[in-house]
Symmetry: C2
Subunit: 442 residues, 2 copies
């Protein structure tokens, strides 16, 4: 069957994803060779320590990752060490040595991707990163190739499993954020320092990558708006439920006439939407194209073998395209000439300029005229109210007022909230959660 030379792979890093990749490549080697038309063999592995899940008998193992990128017998370097600086140095040296690169490193691509793609283009090598976004879900391939006939209008995704695990359990069990976070940490779903996940940085890395591929613009992680879920209360989850919504931590990118929205924040989603029904550590991304309409991609966003699944898919692409002239390959960010023409690309919108609907919750003294004052402030900012509920209370007591607004500009909402918080009748700060109201009916 197989008549072509094997593709020789060097794996840098043998942690969770490295171990998974090693095992999938080994276990499914025969099927993979039948798919690629040639074997994909592990030529060398660089690891600082053993991974007990992997049987390394007969494998060339080094503890120096740079040995792999300098190994003349290696065609493709698989970077699975994570982090920024060393990974950047490793990948750039691999490229400089003419090797193709496969990486699962979202931080590296989101932050150093423009530089890496520029270097790779000059050397004519591939850099593949399906595993960097949403683990095993083939969303990069779907967006970059499968939807290639479309002008992408927006995308919205649950792209951090830790955050979704926490929100799912807060909702199902009526528990508090800190309580569920502690459980997630005990189960290994959250890191000891959970900032990266729960504050939305990890999701913003992934969103940055998706948006660049969707619209053909350079990576601009530094312009992403990021808001975490640590201030979401079980009260807000319950109120959202009463209104027919579920709160999810979404990454949203929308192409508007003014520019590109790039934002990660807690979001109310109508219950009947598929995204609202994605639970636990699972990920899902909804993508709207002008021809196809809404599509959705769901699966495991992390974990050893789900992520390995994406790494191996990239290796299959490399195996097929390594003989192809570079100009015929799919561009890294879907469109050719992105970085060279970045001055002509649409700009990322400042958060003040986005337009969305809002959920607001404020605690007000239940006395005559309060609602009128609240409504006047919103009205003066051009914000119209879609729904309002106020619990009954004894006059003079604090009572929550819950509102859903129609779409308005964030800057108007900021000003309205400033004024609401300065009202004598309003206690504490106003809770504001954006509502996902992207058009699902193209």
């Amino acid at each position: 069957m197989t008549t072509l030379e094997p593709v020789k792979v060097g794996i840098c890093g043998l942690g969770t994803v490295g171990g998974g990749t090693f095992n999938v490549l080994t276990r499914n080697a025969d099927d993979i060779a039948r798919r690629a038309g040639r074997p994909i063999v592990i030529q060398q592995v660089a690891a600082r320590r053993d991974n007990p899940a992997c049987d390394l008998a007969g494998i060339n193992v080094t503890n120096d990752i740079f040995e792999v990128v300098r190994n003349p017998d290696i065609d493709v370097v698989v970077e699975l060490i994570g982090g920024y600086d060393t990974a950047r140095e490793l990948v750039l040296e691999a490229i400089s040595n003419g090797k193709h690169v496969v990486t699962a490193n979202k931080a590296l691509i989101a932050v150093h991707g423009n530089e890496i793609f520029q270097a790779a283009a000059e050397k004519g090598v591939m850099v593949a990163f399906e595993a960097a976004v949403a683990g095993g879900i083939p969303v990069i391939k779907s967006l970059r190739e499968g939807l290639g006939g479309n002008r992408i209008q927006w995308l919205a995704g649950i792209i951090n499993g830790t955050g979704n695990y926490i929100l799912t359990h807060m909702r199902d069990e009526g528990r508090d954020f800190n309580d569920v976070l502690a459980e997630a940490q005990a189960l290994g779903y959250a890191e000891a320092d959970p900032t990266f996940d729960v504050e939305g940085i990890d999701a913003a890395h992934k969103l940055t990558i998706l948006a660049s591929i969707a619209y053909g613009v350079p990576l601009q992680f530094e312009k992403a708006y990021t808001e975490g879920i640590s201030r979401i209360t079980s009260e807000d989850i319950e109120q959202a439920d009463n209104l027919g919504y579920v709160i999810k931590h979404l990454g949203i990118s929308c192409r508007t006439d003014e520019g590109i929205e790039l934002r990660v924040h807690p979001t109310l989603i109508p219950k009947q939407r598929l995204l609202a029904n994605v639970h636990g550590v699972k990920n899902a991304i909804e993508i709207m194209g002008d021809a196809v309409g809404p599509t959705l991609y769901y699966g495991a966003g992390a974990g050893a073998e789900p992520t390995a699944s994406a790494v191996v898919a990239d290796l299959l692409d490399v195996a097929r395209d390594m003989v192809t002239e570079h100009k015929y390959r799919t561009p890294y960010l879907a469109f050719s000439g992105i970085i060279e023409q970045s001055d002509q690309a649409p700009q990322v919108l400042p958060m003040e300029n986005i337009v969305t609907a809002y959920y607001l919750r404020l605690m007000a003294v239940d006395r005559p005229g309060v609602l009128a004052r609240v409504a006047t402030i919103l009205s003066e900012q051009g914000i119209s109210i879609e729904a309002l509920t106020q619990k009954e209370a004894t006059e003079g007591e604090l009572v929550p007022i819950i509102m859903l607004t129609h779409r308005t500009r964030e800057s108007s909402m900021n000003e309205a909230i400033r004024q609401l918080e300065s009202l004598a009748d309003v206690a504490g700060s106003v809770t504001r959660i954006r509502v996902e109201n992207l058009d699902d009916n193209a």
Copy 2:
């Protein structure tokens, strides 16, 4: 930017999908050229009549589809005429003339695919058919490339929009099959002769294609089991709802030690599953891989531009790979050497040999001992009951007995039903609907 020669396309058929393809290629031409690195131009269109949705000014139009496949200026023939015989002849002649082929024709691929791929392999040309399954959802690409590292274990999908539209409205509005079918016909969602859609033939075509790609076996449409939705009653939908299930028309293919299951039939799905929440004309396919676990792909399964989205994605693949040697291209059915080695491939299981859980509804006279007789028959066939409900009634009246069984072999269930229907206490025939109980937790 663009330095490569344009790719010259001939479109055969300018109906719904042909018109959509023409319009998407025209409207998004600049973006498509930036993606492909070269323009994709419509060199000729063959149509028996005008499509008022298309502006054909300046286009070379013929009414002879065979002129397109003989046109020496055309690189890629896009077959959008549908049907079996003429489409087969057209595609085989295009291949014989050394042209690549893109088709949306599921019937053609499911029935004549083995012959077509064999001919194309001999000529070294591509035959792409993303649009043949689930319209705009890039599920062929995801299964064949994105999940290429996996051993696929099963897949299950809502792959006929007409059937899903009917079942959705039957459930939401408590209406009967014939009533909703008439409405779907009036709205253009169902054909005047709905057999192809509601009896599952269209879904079986698509399932056949998906299964071949999933497991690397030849296309075997003639071995697919097909059961339609025309006998589903609103009573069964309501009973399923009470038990926590939704009835969907699923195509299911599962790889077992004994062979490959290939079956289309109404199916009970637990309400919380994403597949149960796919409504109206939308499609979704869940795919289980050994590395990635469950993944799901959702979107529009039909319509002019959703299907065009898939056709254009295939054209982009052809544009990139037409310079590549054939042996480096992704095999038509994911694995190389499938048709040549078909004697070694796993066989499609006869329906009698599948193993699944069941929902049963029977009308029995409410008299002492009936339940015991029913339970004895099931027990003697080795079938265990998971749940049983019997409505209260006056003794001697007919009353429905509803049961959910654990997994059992179809042949045992056939025998049990034969015996149940021969009981004097049981009136009429036993309704049997299979329950989707594929493992979602790999």
